[in-house]
């Protein structure tokens, strides 16, 4: 049986939404296809009547600054994100996350929108966006709306966006401003699976050597993206140094209970590296605020 019968390249959101409506649940949105096409081929996703490719929609492959938001269209690839000077400066965590997705050939077509819509809690772009308090714009036949990032995720691989009827058109988040910085790191397993053993993203505001505000995202510790709220609360108001970070480990370990995933990592291992990731990622973010140097780690081999 063919995996799909028609392939459409609409040029506007309206056209795309119209096509989805016409196929009435039998078509599906595709962007880079680096998740979807493999899922279709390996039988993890059912065949569809049509694929609606959103990457040629005019305006969707742009990265824009609007007021104090940065808006990333659904057609924007990981390569575009890695190379964006704006994002390198103001969303360093996201740049570092996009940089580790696949190899250059995959990053040249894979989108951040697809990374999010695929709804895997440990996807790298997802973890970075989680720490950046992102929002998502969804377009359907009934119009467009912005929804909070976390409300998208219903369970592993289960998205609130029904890609047979709706389109994720854009993602937005606040740019890191003065006294702020962000960072991302992950640990991979050299055998099998492209998904990280664990990834971690942090955004921090440091004022007068104190952590004024901090956002910490880690995965996988839950079926949906997870924010370390207790650790964030614990760290708020503490001096911005490694002593504070080390002091937060107990709280972090009490709120994050990573599990064993077969062929990927044991829960015990994840517990060992969780504090390491906190230290490395938050440490890196704080360092960036202190030095004003935000060069993302994208010119090194992972």
């Amino acid at each position: 049986m063919p995996l799909w019968n028609d392939y459409h390249l609409p040029l506007s959101v309206d056209e795309a939404v119209g096509l989805l409506a016409r196929y009435d649940g039998k078509a599906r949105v595709v962007a880079g296809g680096t998740d979807l096409i493999l899922d279709l081929r390996q039988g993890h996703a059912p065949p569809v009547e049509a694929l609606i490719d959103v990457t040629r929609i005019i305006g969707l492959n742009e990265i824009r600054e609007a007021a104090d938001f940065i808006v990333i269209g659904a057609g924007v690839t990981h390569s575009q994100i890695v190379e964006s000077q704006l994002l390198q400066q103001k969303a360093t965590a996201l740049v570092e996350a996009s940089y580790v997705v696949g190899g250059p050939q995959v990053r040249n077509v894979a989108t951040l929108g697809g990374n999010v819509a695929h709804a895997l809690p440990a996807a790298d772009g997802t973890t970075a966006l989680n720490a950046l308090d992102a929002e998502v714009e969804v377009a359907s036949f009934s119009g467009r709306r912005w929804i909070p990032f976390t409300s998208l995720f219903l369970g592993p691989g289960k998205s609130a966006i029904d890609s047979t009827r709706e389109i994720l058109t854009a993602l937005r988040f606040k740019a890191t401003g003065e006294n702020e910085a962000s960072a991302f790191s992950r640990i991979m397993r050299p055998q099998g699976v492209a998904l990280p053993i664990m990834n971690f993203a942090a955004k921090v505001r440091v004022l007068d050597q104190q952590i004024e505000k901090v956002a910490l995202a880690v995965a996988p510790v839950a079926p949906t993206p997870f924010r370390c709220q207790q650790t964030e609360a614990f760290l708020t108001g503490k001096p911005a140094n490694f002593e504070s970070i080390d002091g937060a480990v107990a709280v972090l370990l009490s709120e994050c209970k990573p599990r064993t995933s077969p062929h990927r990592a044991t829960g015990a291992y994840r517990q060992e590296v969780l504090p390491v990731l906190l230290r490395r990622t938050l440490g890196k973010a704080i360092e960036r605020v202190k030095t004003g140097e935000v060069m993302p780690e994208i010119y090194k081999v992972e």
Partner: protein, 970 residues
């Protein structure tokens, strides 16, 4: 069908495509641009990389219609479009500098990855616009573009050189002997131009008019009784031309290389023994229809309990995989009296090790095409390692005489032992017979992973006894080998594991027992290293630990016991010549010391050399002490070392022979062609054969062509296995050329009126050189002229030579079990992240005694490729089964080393010639991948104090062991 309008290599193209076709398929099958390869269809390997609007993408998952209006560059466009007027390049002036340099630096072996690799590199260099490119940038760009053959070093060098950052071969090729004209000189591969331009043809690149597509129904369950096979619905599907089952196999129902136990198709009422067992085969108009037909075949199974490990298989009450029982063979090696030896020992150490099943992950999945010729013969196009055995096996199952079958070998996109068994060869012949049309079966990567034999998983217990002075008194090993559902080459592989399980040491009392067991796992067979990879890991890990117990430097301990000329092996073979083990060790130790001295000098000011807490430094400050770690931040560093040896040739009493045919031609300046059925799996055999022939006939290297792997046109070269081809086929080619030279000498001598003995063959001429210095006396003829004279005299311009290797003795009978052994010492510098357990190999120093380097460029390629494959074996590769079901059913779950695993490699060649080898050469194909694994695990033990006795090294268990203060991972 919608039209796809786009530009391909600068030319506008309009082509009708199906909406669900992919760019790679359109390029390959609709536009005939078969240079773009499909290695996985999963966006994992990078072989299908093309450039779309300036950006490299993987075309295997790129919907063709997405390329509407786009500019596409493929490998076929690279040469023409970017003509380089580089006056220095002599190879092929119209090639792109990347293509030239890939050839020059030996960055092309099997060539299957080459088009994708060049496209990815081109995108990088196009971006750099002439700016220098760094190693880091190359690693980032090539991160997910895999090569299984080269180890990436030559690729990185080629890319830099192509960017004007010249790297000279002399800078990095190891020093080797000279003294001949062609032999010993670095030469590019004869097939390299075809491989860098995309012109090279692999099996899936071959098409016939009217060709059908075949597909195979796999069991999917590891152990079951087949209750019913109903093919009626599949047969009724429009577009299906044949659906065949067991009953349709007219001849021998099983195949197998040694033991004929593997069903061509499983019979109803009989059993399936592994998930990859073939139940039915289909031929249809398209791949898609063939797949749909498979889904319509109804099979009922009664599931049986699964035999999942060799230890369980050996239990008396274990279910039987085969009626005769689960023991394929009990293999025994014995010398002296081990119990006595252990009684004499001051220290006895026993350790158990586990090694994983691994996949060859050659980048080209299996493909075969079968057709009937007008004369009613079967022609099979396949990239196989053993053409003649394929022929015999196809003939047996088809029930026809051998002469009715012709195997035409296509290029092979990597083998490493994984293309020795029958995969699609018999099936395509059956389908061609049933349909009367050519039929192609191309495996998906998934199918390749679950079907073909793997490396044997083993459990090995090594026991060593030694005197206080370090002399080994006894060595004992017990091995369990998992040969899976069918024998394949299991008996041979595990015999080699067993005979090498006491290490390359002269031990008066040695004993080794191996139980080769059937299980319901995917069969295990030949894989580069042939069992020795596993036993070397066990022995060499134990040697380091034993040295610690004895308080002797591990290098010293090895030297005290190493095999020498005059030593006796554990099988009772007295080594009479060509044992360069100590010299290998000396090179590696000296280089390790030099490297350490440099590091210490560089870091003295920083006083970095703080000992790692918790690990007792055995020795006090000195420039280099093997085993002593150092620490920078949260990372620990240490060197580790191991030695190994590996037989060349089949040995063990096998009649190891190869034929070679030589033909000389008068065209141009005169040429010669050498023919043998041996296979080129990327290792560089054509270059070796051409060099040997060119040397003997005094021809320039470029004037010798090589024809391989065609059972009609080339004499039997025997299997391409056991590192035997340089030695056996090399000898056959050399003798053929020598005989031809004699014939030519006689003809020329008569014409020139001189004595045949006074004639020298050199520079493409036959010269009379009778003064004492060998200077020419004027009388001479061109090579072509001499061939013309032969033709004028009605003499044959071709002849066949049958070479037989010196006789060997079967295991257990003493005497010479093998004609030769190659030796190696490897040292690895590792970095262990003590916070995460991550391990990196930073540097490898390697020395190999391979007899004589015939082509140093190809040799270095084998060494670098072998080392990186060994890094995979140690750190990344694993093909686990759960109750007989393999986990890594997609390439995404099987990680071979990528360019980011490439260490800095320093290589030394030791040339202790073997008198029976061609110009003294022994094999190198396997030894280069053997000691590297224990070198790495010894280094890890030195760095963090944990001995990892289970492969691959798992950072998860390693870190937890470090945190818990455990001394080992078992």
């Amino acid at each position: 069908m919608p039209a796809l309008n786009f530009t391909v290599n600068g030319k506008p193209v309009s082509v009708e495509v199906k909406p669900n076709e992919f760019l790679a398929e359109v390029l390959r099958y609709k536009l005939g641009l078969t240079g773009t390869k499909i290695g996985c269809n999963e966006a994992e390997c990078g072989s299908c990389t093309v450039i779309v609007d300036g950006q490299p993408v993987v075309s295997c998952i790129y919907p063709a219609l997405k390329a509407q209006g786009a500019q596409i560059e493929t490998i076929e466009g690279v040469a023409a479009q970017a003509y380089s007027p580089n006056p220095k390049s002599k190879i092929q002036n119209q090639l792109h500098p990347l293509q030239e340099n890939f050839i020059k630096h030996g960055a092309v072996q099997c060539g299957f990855c080459t088009p994708g690799m060049i496209m990815q590199a081109k995108a990088l260099l196009d971006r750099k616009q002439g700016e220098p490119v760094t190693d880091e940038e190359i690693k980032i760009a090539l991160k997910d573009t895999y090569c299984r053959c080269t180890g990436y070093v030559s690729i990185a060098n080629a890319i830099k050189s192509a960017n004007g950052q010249e790297i000279s071969l002399a800078d990095y090729l190891p020093v080797t002997k000279h003294g001949y004209h062609v032999v010993g000189e670095a030469k590019p591969r004869p097939d390299a131009v075809a491989k860098v331009t995309g012109a090279a043809k692999y099996a899936d690149d071959v098409v016939f008019p009217d060709m059908l597509f075949g597909a195979t129904l796999r069991a999917g369950v590891p152990h079951a009784l087949i209750k019913k096979i109903d093919t009626s619905k599949a047969q009724a599907l429009p577009g299906v031309h044949a659906v065949l089952t067991h009953a349709d196999v007219p001849g021998r129902k099983n195949h197998g290389l040694v033991t004929i136990d593997w069903p061509v198709l499983c019979a109803c009422g009989d059993k399936v023994r592994y998930v990859g067992d073939a139940i039915a085969i289909v031929a249809a108009d398209t791949q898609e229809i063939a797949q749909d037909a498979l889904n319509l075949i109804e099979v009922d199974y009664k599931l049986l309990p699964v035999v999942d490990t060799p230890e369980f298989a050996h239990q008396p009450d274990a279910p039987r995989v085969h009626e005769k029982g689960n023991l394929l063979k009990h293999i025994k090696v014995a010398r002296g009296d081990v119990e006595q030896g252990f009684a004499e020992a001051d220290v006895v150490l026993e350790r158990t090790y586990h090694t994983a099943s691994t996949d060859h992950a050659f980048l080209e999945p299996e493909c075969a095409i079968g057709r009937l010729t007008d004369e009613g013969r079967y022609e099979i196009y396949v990239g196989s390692q053993i053409a003649y055995q394929d022929r015999d096996q196809v003939a047996a199952s088809l029930g026809v005489p051998k002469e009715q079958v012709r195997i035409v070998g296509t290029l092979i996109g990597g083998g490493f032992g994984g293309k020795e068994d029958i995969m699609g060869q018999i099936h395509v012949a059956l389908l061609a017979k049933a349909t009367g049309r050519p039929v192609k079966i191309l495996y998906t990567r998934h199918e390749s992973l679950i079907a073909h034999p793997k490396r044997h998983a083993t459990t090995i217990t090594v026991k060593l006894g030694a005197k206080k002075n370090g002399r080994l008194t006894a060595a004992k090993a017990e091995l369990y080998g998992d040969t899976g559902a069918y024998a394949s080459l299991g008996e041979k592989v595990l015999t080699r594991a067993t005979t090498h399980a006491n290490g390359p040491y002269d031990v008066a009392n040695a004993k080794s027992d191996c139980f080769a067991m059937y299980t319901n796992n995917v069969p295990a067979g030949a894989f580069r290293g042939f069992g020795v990879t596993q036993s070397c890991f066990a022995v060499e890990m134990t040697m380091d630990e034993l040295a610690g117990r004895l308080g002797i430097d591990p290098i010293e301990l090895r030297k005290l016991n190493s095999l020498q000329v005059g030593s006796t092996t554990n099988t009772g073979q007295v080594l009479l010549e060509s044992v360069g083990l100590d010299e290998c060790l000396d090179h590696v130790v000296a280089a390790m010391k030099a490297d350490e001295a440099q590091r210490i000098a560089a870091q003295r000011t920083a006083a970095q050399r703080t000992p790692v807490p918790g690990i007792a430094a055995q020795h006090t400050a000195e420039p280099f002490i093997y085993g002593q770690p150092w620490k920078i931040g949260h990372k620990n560093y240490a060197w580790g070392l191991a030695v190994g040896y590996k037989n060349t040739g089949l040995g063990g009493g096998a009649n190891d022979c190869a034929g070679a045919e030589i033909e000389v031609y008068a065209c141009g300046a005169g040429t010669a062609e050498i023919r043998t059925s041996s296979a080129e799996i990327g290792q560089g055999l054509p270059g070796v054969l051409a060099a040997v022939v060119a040397e003997e006939l005094g021809l320039p290297f470029e004037q010798v062509t090589v024809l391989l792997s065609d059972t009609d046109l080339t004499p039997n070269g025997g299997p391409t296995t056991a590192s035997r081809q340089t030695y056996v086929s090399g000898n056959a080619a050399r003798h053929a050329a020598m005989q031809m030279r004699e014939v030519m000498s006689r003809v020329a001598a008569e014409r020139l009126d001189v004595s045949p003995d006074s004639l020298k063959f050199r520079n493409g001429r036959v010269e009379h050189a009778d003064d004492n210095n060998g200077h020419s006396r004027g009388k001479s003829a061109s090579f072509a002229e001499v061939v013309e004279w032969m033709q004028a005299e009605g003499r044959s311009t071709k002849l066949i030579y049958e070479y037989t290797a010196p006789e060997t003795r079967p295991l257990g009978q003493g005497g010479d079990m093998h004609v030769a052994f190659s030796y190696a010492a490897h040292a690895a510098l590792v970095e262990v992240d003590t916070e995460t357990g991550e391990v990196k190999v930073l540097k490898v120093i390697a020395a190999h005694d391979i007899g004589r380097a015939i082509n140093p460029l190809a040799l270095e390629g084998q060494i670098e490729g072998g080392i990186v494959m060994g890094i995979g074996n140690a750190l990344t590769e694993e093909f686990p089964h759960e109750q007989g079901v393999p986990w890594a059913q997609w390439l995404a779950r099987y990680k071979m080393p990528s360019i980011k695993h490439m260490p800095e490699i320093k290589s030394f060649i030791v040339e202790h010639e073997i008198s029976s080898g061609p110009f003294g050469a022994k094999g190198v194909g396997e030894i280069s991948s053997i000691p590297i694994t224990p070198a790495i695990t010894n280094a890890i033990a030195n760095a963090v104090g944990v001995r990892v006795r289970r492969l691959p090294v798992d950072q998860d268990t390693l870190l937890r062991a470090m945190k818990n203060g455990a001394k080992s991972v078992d």
